[in-house]
Each structure stands twice: as C-alpha cells, then as structure tokens.
Amino acid sequence: MYAIEAEGLVKRFGATTALAGVDLYARAGTVLGVLGPNGAGKTTAVRVLATLLRPDAGSARVAGYDVVRQANEVRSVVGLTGQYAAVDEELTGIQNLLLVGRLLGLSRRAAKRRAAELLERFGLSDAGGRRAKTYSGGMRRRLDLAVSLVGRPGVLYLDEPTTGLDPHSRNELWNIVRDLVADGSTVLLTTQYMDEADQLADDIAVIDHGKVIATGSPDELKAKTGGQTLEIRPTDPESVDRVAAVVAELTGVSPTVRGQRLSAPVSDPAVPAAVLRRLDEAGIPVVELALRLPSLDDVFLSLTGHAAEDGNGNGGMRRVS
C-alpha cells in the first residue's frame, strides 16, 4: 500500500525542465528519501505533491487522492515543512500554531490545547510566548515542523529539513522524524546529505536533472555500486606514504588519502588480509583497518558522475571530496 504514488511527473518553467518524468513511490508508514543535488528537481516534486504546483504531465496520488483533481483532500492529509522555515516571524510560537489550528477548523480551545501539546513535544514550551523572529535556526525549524503537524497529517513532506542546522539540532530533528514514523506517519524527505538519507530513509530515490536515476533501500543502492572499500589508518602519521604504496601494490589502485586515513576500493576478499600481513612484516602498526560497504556518497558519485553537494553547496555538513 503506497501513501504516495507519482507517475511520470513533468514540470517545465519556461525553457527549463525541472521534472522530466519522475516516478516516486512511498510505502505507507515509511520514510522515502529523495536524494539529489541542488537544482535536481526535489523541491519541485514536493511542491507538486503538496498541490502548490500543477504538473504539466503525469499524475500523483497522495493517500489515494489525486493531487490535481482532489487538491483540497490532499491538503487535508499532508503536512509540509519547507526548506526555509515558513513560520510567521511576527507572530509568537503559540500564535503560529493557533493560526493553523483555527484555519483547520479546530475550536479555539482545541487549537490552544494542540498548540500547548506540540510546543511541549518539541521543547518549545518556554519560547512559545516569544516571537518566532527571536528563535534560533533549530528552534525555528522545530516550530515549522510543529506547525505542519497541527492537523495530524498522515503524510509529511520534509523539504531539506536540516539544511543549515548545526549537528545537535540536526540530531534532534532526526529523532523527531523517527518518532513520527513510529507513530505511523509516512514521510517524504528530500535531502542532499547522504548520511541523512542513510540514517532515516527506508527507501531512496536518487534524482538528478529532473529524473529518478536509481531507487532502492540504502543497502541495495550500496550493493548496486558493487565492491567494498578498504580503510586503513596507521598509528604513525609518518608512515602514510608507505602504507599507500603497499595498498597500491596489492589492489592495483592508488588509495584516496584523507588526513591520516587511506581508502581504496577492493573486489578481491583476500586483499585485506594480505595488506595486513605485509604491513605487519614491514613493522608498520595500524590503529584501524576495516572493510566497509560503499557510502551513499560513493553511490551518488558513481550514479551521477558528480558529487551530491555541488552547485552552491549551502550546507554546513561535510562535503564529498
């Protein structure tokens, strides 16, 4: 049972094609991660699914309702949290929540109760009486999310919810998303951060240039890229070059060096043991030697031929190098 089914979505803006036939499926009660660089079409897809844009071609159903013909129904079952927190900065946290509660038809009392509940849940009770203008980035994002939950939507769109947040606020938001899904919500999450998709998504759709170029669970996508990565960190930083030479000889590829850490793709399962033996013979101690699946960074790079955070790279998180 899919909570979101989109087929062949096309959206053009003048000469630019933002969506060139996008299919997206989100199973009810799971997180669908839509992964792609800036300008890939993620936000346009969300805007179509949230009834804010009409597709030029294709169709989409959310909770069984058609986004074009049954727009009002769709609006009743979805919550939207934008990339840039769309709260009214002139209003207090409580007033923002009351406004949406009243617009959704709650009585004054029910709206107040709901507002208090959500402020409590998002750790904003103390700040509820302050204008949103005075909030920190993380607080504003939490308020934005709280506002989108006033109507208890079954389907939630989070459009780059952690862009520009510090690691602490990001973790808080991730936990909130996990709780929501545990309560049965379906979440569509767009992100340009690999680890975010890796952490939260049950399924991933990778979008680039307005097209879905790969789908699957995080593990499936990693498996598709094939092979594994060997990572080594020698105890003595001075020996990095010597380790690199050993790895290059045994794998046939010169390893990527990041600080004190070396990594190289391996396809032969006997290689790690051989590397360890050679280093032991040469008397080079290592702190860490591990074999891991490729990260989604690697997956994205191999699928698109470019890193996930190119464009204006507005994130505060690590860049793919």
Binding site: V78, G105, P153
Partner: protein, 263 residues
C-alpha cells in the same frame, strides 16, 4: 487528519471564517510587535506636528487655523499611506514562504488575499480614528454633526478599498519588498503632495494646479473637510466615490488575475 473532515470543496461559510482568521493574524502581528504598534499610534501625531506646527505658521499665518484646514486633508492622505502596506505585506508573505504554507492547507484559495485586505482595513480605520483623536486634543473642532463626520471617515475607508487593489497588484507583481516600496513611493508622493491636502491649489503653478484639481486625493480631502468643518462640498463626495469605483473596476480584476497566477 483526525479532527477535520476531508472535504472536496471549501464552503462559503468556511471561506469567510478562513479570511477572518487570517485578518486576526494580521491584527495580532501589530499587537505583539510593540515597535510597530508604537509607530502605528505615533505616526499620525508626527504628521500633525510636522505639517501643522512646523509648516502651519508659514503656510496659514498661525497653526490653529491651519489645523482646521489640514487635519481633514491629513486624514484623507493617511489613507493613501497606510493602504500601501497591503501590497508590501502580501509580497512579504510570498517571498518568505508563509504564503506557501497557507496554500498547503485545506483553506479557501481567496482567504490569504481577503484576510489581509480585511485586516489592513481595520488597521486603517483605527489609524483614522487615532488621527482624528489627536486632532481633537490639539484643538481641532468639528463644525458639522457626528453623522457627517462618520460619513467623512467612511468615505476615506472606501477610497482605501479602491486603492488597496492597486497596492495588491504591485505587491503581487513585484519581485521583492524593496521594489514594492520603491514603486509605492513613486506613486504615493504625487497623489498625496500634489493635492490640496496641505495647501490651497491657488498657490500652485498652473500645470500643478491642473493635476491637483483632478487628483482623487484633492477631492477626497475637500469632501472630508466639508463633512467635518462645513466648508463647501461641491461635487467632491461624488468625485471621491467615482474614483473609488473606477479604481476598483480597473484594478480589482488585474489584482485578482495576478493573485490567481500565484495560487
């Protein structure tokens, strides 16, 4: 959603409620923002002090008799100033994402526009009363009756409705708040200062007189002056109403067209 029923359409009654809720938002913004609230109350006072007490003596010989002339004009003029805020507010909502949030809710498509217009009109009406209140404290006397006075204020509010369509159109078409301000400013100064609001038109050069005589704000201020202090009305009330209708007929469809492109 568990607490609201899922409907295909928004009923007219619900639409009205959505608009009123958004008008509430507009007014609460003012209430919870002490700086803006102070500005809202003090600005009319500054206008009176500036125009009546700084320039008044030079223009009319003494400021008391000038207050009599200028206050109705200032009431008419403040209509133009404050209603221009409608477009700026609309534009701000669109740029900062609040408009998208509202559109993502199951509410009447017209509500964000209607709600803002209602909220701004209430603000505007309140600012007129404050202006008149300060005037009365400072010595302005009404020589007609309360009914005519209210009629004068209503005439200004109505004109404000007509003008708010222009303001909305600017707000909906402009790319940024700065553009809105620039454009509104360019529009505002000739129609407020190129009028008989502050000085009698006979003192102006011919070309400016020609403009000031057809300027709707001149008609409006003559009408308000007549309705409050008993000076001759002529056809000023009718001209004011005609301008209100004309602005609405021309700009309401354009503003609604521009709005529909956004929703």
């Amino acid at each position: 959603m568990t607490e609201a029923t899922i409907a295909h359409r928004v009923s007219p009654l619900q639409a009205a409620r959505h608009s009123l809720t958004l008008a509430w938002r507009n007014l609460v913004q003012l209430k919870s923002n002490p700086g803006e609230l102070a500005g809202f109350v003090i600005q009319p006072l500054i206008f009176i002090v500036l125009f009546v007490y700084v320039f008044g003596g030079a223009i009319a010989g003494n400021s008391d008799s000038y207050l009599e002339y200028a206050l109705p004009g200032l009431i008419a003029q403040s209509g133009v100033f404050s209603i221009m805020a409608t477009g700026a507010g609309l534009n701000q909502d669109i740029t900062n994402g609040v408009f998208d949030r509202l559109r993502s809710l199951p509410i009447a498509r017209s509500a964000p526009l209607v709600g803002r217009a209602i909220g701004d009109l209430v603000r505007f009406a309140a600012s007129l009363v404050i202006l008149l209140g300060f005037g009365l404290i400072l010595g302005f006397r009404i020589h007609t009756d309360p009914l005519s006075t209210v009629a004068g204020l209503l005439l200004v509010v109505l004109f404000g409705v007509g003008l708010s369509w222009v303001s909305m159109l600017i707000g909906l078409l402009a790319k940024s708040a700065t553009t809105v301000q620039l454009f509104s400013g360019v529009l505002m100064f000739p129609i407020t200062f190129g009028s008989n609001v502050l000085v009698k038109t006979e003192t102006m050069p011919g070309w400016l007189q020609a403009w000031a005589k057809v300027n709707p704000v001149s008609h409006l201020s003559t009408a308000v002056r007549g309705l409050m202090t008993g000076t001759p009305l002529g056809s000023s009330v009718w001209w004011s109403l005609a301008w209100t209708v004309a602005l609405t007929v021309v700009f309401a469809p354009l503003a609604i067209w521009a709005y529909r492109r956004k929703v």
